[in-house]
């Protein structure tokens, strides 16, 4: 019987500009981006001195400049809709530190939650949305800071695809011209958790409480460190450089104990589609693979997250677990929210824990935070607002 060899040449004679090790590209996409800029192919949003950058190292030891000032907040759908204390805590810190930023109405969703849940988009659509939002930061002279891990993962992927594919660049450029914008790409794609990480020692200076008795378990978000894994911060002094350093770094700087647990690597069970339409899968995953190991193995007082979907999934699905005998419970909040609590931010007005489902009060009691006083003041504030009072804002966005 004749054997058909359908792949006689295969990749053997295909040339590449890249050097690979175990299949992974060694060239930093950052260098390729600057080459494209030099050829006039793209415009780049550079990290400038006025952005007061702090350097960090990524998985392969490459340097990444994290801008800490003059930032454009790229908000997250799920945080703003469901966990408002998440972005508020971040802005609160920036106010405490006297940093400049813009938070405005002129921003769309990255649309990547929808894409990963439903498949109802494509690379051109995703890349065009990304460039649209990047360009908005560019025209304001600011550097974009992405709040959501899925945005971070998606935008890292879109940046790489745009740098590597001329056809995609041409198509996105055409669409940008249609809406009066240009093809711009940020020098670095920066997640808020990276900002928190490089600012952790400044944050720790604001600390109001002793956290040495608090045991935290960290849930690293998949789209932070599993999507384009080479572009994620690692630090030789944190987990010996073997796991991503973000979130854990700020917890250590604040003096909390960070405990290990066997399923740290697992996702939260969000699933993008599953959290909305197939929740039995999400909740089973939450209880079996995350919350129970965190409590049983680590005696965790708090689960620390760095993303929107993880915070929601891990927090909201503990209540129903009781019906199946899962008695383990642990409050869930993002690194920046916990840091804000530790630095004296108001539990209700700033950290907004009242929206969370799993009880966070025992954690506040353990730290010594008077949440009852905060609740009374918040309720009085709501009455004032009902009576026509004015909101005390952290920031006023440009009206135009």
């Amino acid at each position: 019987m004749a054997i058909e060899i359908s792949n006689r040449l295969g990749l053997a004679n295909v040339k590449s500009d890249y050097i690979h090790t175990a299949g992974r590209k060694l060239e930093d996409i950052h260098e390729r981006l600057l080459e494209l800029e030099a050829k006039g192919e793209v415009k780049v949003i550079h990290v400038k001195d006025e952005n007061k950058p702090i350097e960090a190292e990524t998985l392969l030891g490459w340097k990444k400049k994290i801008p800490t000032n003059k930032l454009w907040h790229h908000k997250s759908c799920g945080q703003c809709g469901n966990i408002p204390g998440y972005p508020v805590s971040l802005l609160w810190f920036m106010n405490q530190m006297g940093l400049e930023y813009v938070d405005e109405r002129n921003q769309t969703s990255c649309t990547a939650w929808n894409y990963h849940g439903s498949g109802t988009s494509n690379p051109v659509g995703l890349a065009a949305v990304a460039v649209r939002n990047w360009h908005r930061a560019y025209e304001l002279g600011l550097f974009p800071l992405f709040h959501c891990a899925t945005t971070f993962g998606d935008y890292k992927e879109m940046r790489n695809l745009l740098v590597e594919n001329k056809e995609l660049r041409d198509e996105v450029r055409r669409i940008m011209q249609k809406i009066g914008r240009d093809l711009v790409i940020p020098e670095y794609i920066v997640h808020y958790s990276e900002w928190v990480h490089v600012m952790r020692f400044e944050i720790a200076k604001l600390k109001k409480y002793d956290l040495s008795s608090v045991i935290a378990t960290v849930h690293p978000a998949c789209h932070t460190y599993k999507m384009i894994p080479e572009d994620c911060i690692y630090d030789k002094d944190i987990y010996a450089g073997k796991r991503t350093a973000v979130s854990t770094g700020v917890m250590l700087a604040l003096g909390a104990q960070v405990a290990d647990y066997s399923t740290w690597y697992d996702c939260c069970g969000f699933g993008f589609r599953h959290i909305l339409t197939e929740r039995e899968a999400s909740r089973s995953f939450v209880m079996d693979r995350k919350i129970r190991p965190m409590v049983r193995e680590a005696h965790s007082d708090v689960c620390i997250t760095q993303d929107t979907g993880c915070t929601t999934t891990l927090d909201k699905n503990q209540w129903i677990g009781k019906a199946m005998g899962y008695t383990e419970q642990v409050p869930v909040m993002a690194d920046v929210m916990f840091a804000a609590l530790a630095c004296g931010a108001d539990v209700f007005k700033i950290v907004q824990l009242q929206w969370h489902t799993t009880d966070w009060r025992p954690l506040c009691d353990k730290i010594g935070i008077d949440w009852k006083k905060s609740e009374e003041e918040y309720n009085a504030y709501l009455e004032e607002l009902k009576a026509g009072g004015k909101t005390v804002n952290l920031y006023e966005y440009p009206k135009s």
Binding site: S6, A22, G23, C77, Q79, G81, N82, V88, L91, E104, R105, N106, T108, S109, G117, S118, G119, T120, S121, N122, P123, G125, A128, V129, G153, N165, L168, I175, K178, I179, C222, H223, K226, M227, Y265, D266, C267, G271, F272, L276, T277, R279, A281, R283, F285, D288, R289, K316, N317, W319, I320, K349, W355, T357, Y378, L385, K386, T391, N393, L394
Partner: protein, 225 residues
């Protein structure tokens, strides 16, 4: 699409071949499908593998087989089990991305309006409406006890006095109830143009024609405002 007495779709071999060719022509395909040791590391680490009949190793093996019949067997419910966490892509020794392959196959399923895709995405339509018509995905007024009873009694907190509670959030962009943040109409119009040009509206029309009509009504209103 036609189905036999067992509910299995009757599909001509030519269509199955077309599906495979469509996937293979995707410019991301060569990045996602490389060598496969069949080691199963991806499946060992795959979260949905614990709860569904889903294995990223099988996804890769079927793609590597280049057999349209085998690839077709994944096009119905199979591809929708994936969590899109990309654990598989990170831990694969050869840097395959079964999660990326799934994304390509899902795109094909919705673009072609497969019945299975329509069925899976039907309960998702409210989210699709929010995102495509208004520019962000999850609004506070969607968190209602009747939709999320399994999230416990506290979920009712978000549905009472919502407007004043949102007003108390000290970020003006968040002081709305029907959107995650207040998106300017001019910004929405730019998003609509992107969706038009990139073919996103066409995809939604293929997978949910009645939802598409509702979205277009909103889009027309915003565009004419």
């Amino acid at each position: 699409m036609e189905y036999d007495e067992n509910g299995v779709s009757i599909v001509p071999a030519e269509l199955k071949k077309e599906i495979f060719e469509e996937a293979r022509k995707d410019f991301r395909y060569e990045e996602y499908v490389r060598g496969c040791l069949n080691c199963g590391v991806c499946t060992g680490g795959c979260p949905p593998h614990r709860f569904f009949d889903f294995s990223p190793r099988i996804v890769l093996q079927k793609m590597k087989s280049k057999d349209p019949e085998l690839i077709w067997t994944m096009m119905d419910e199979y591809v929708w089990a994936c969590f899109q966490c990309f654990t598989c892509a990170m831990i694969c020794p050869f840097l395959n991305s079964p999660g990326g392959v799934i994304a390509i196959l899902r795109e094909i399923a919705v673009r072609r309006g497969f019945e299975s895709a329509k069925k899976v995405l039907k309960p998702y339509s409210r989210v699709l409406l929010k995102l495509t018509a208004y520019g962000n995905q999850l609004s506070p007024d969607m968190i209602q006890p009747d939709f999320f009873p399994d999230w416990g009694p506290h979920i009712g907190y978000a549905s009472t006095d919502l407007a004043v509670k949102r007003k108390a959030i000290p970020m003006p962009t968040l002081q709305v109830t029907n959107l995650a943040w207040d998106v300017a109409p001019e910004t929405m119009k730019e998003l609509y143009d992107i969706f038009d040009e990139a073919g996103v509206f066409k995809i939604i029309e293929a997978v949910d024609p009645s939802l598409y009509e509702i979205i277009q009504d909103i889009v027309d209103d915003v565009r004419s405002s």
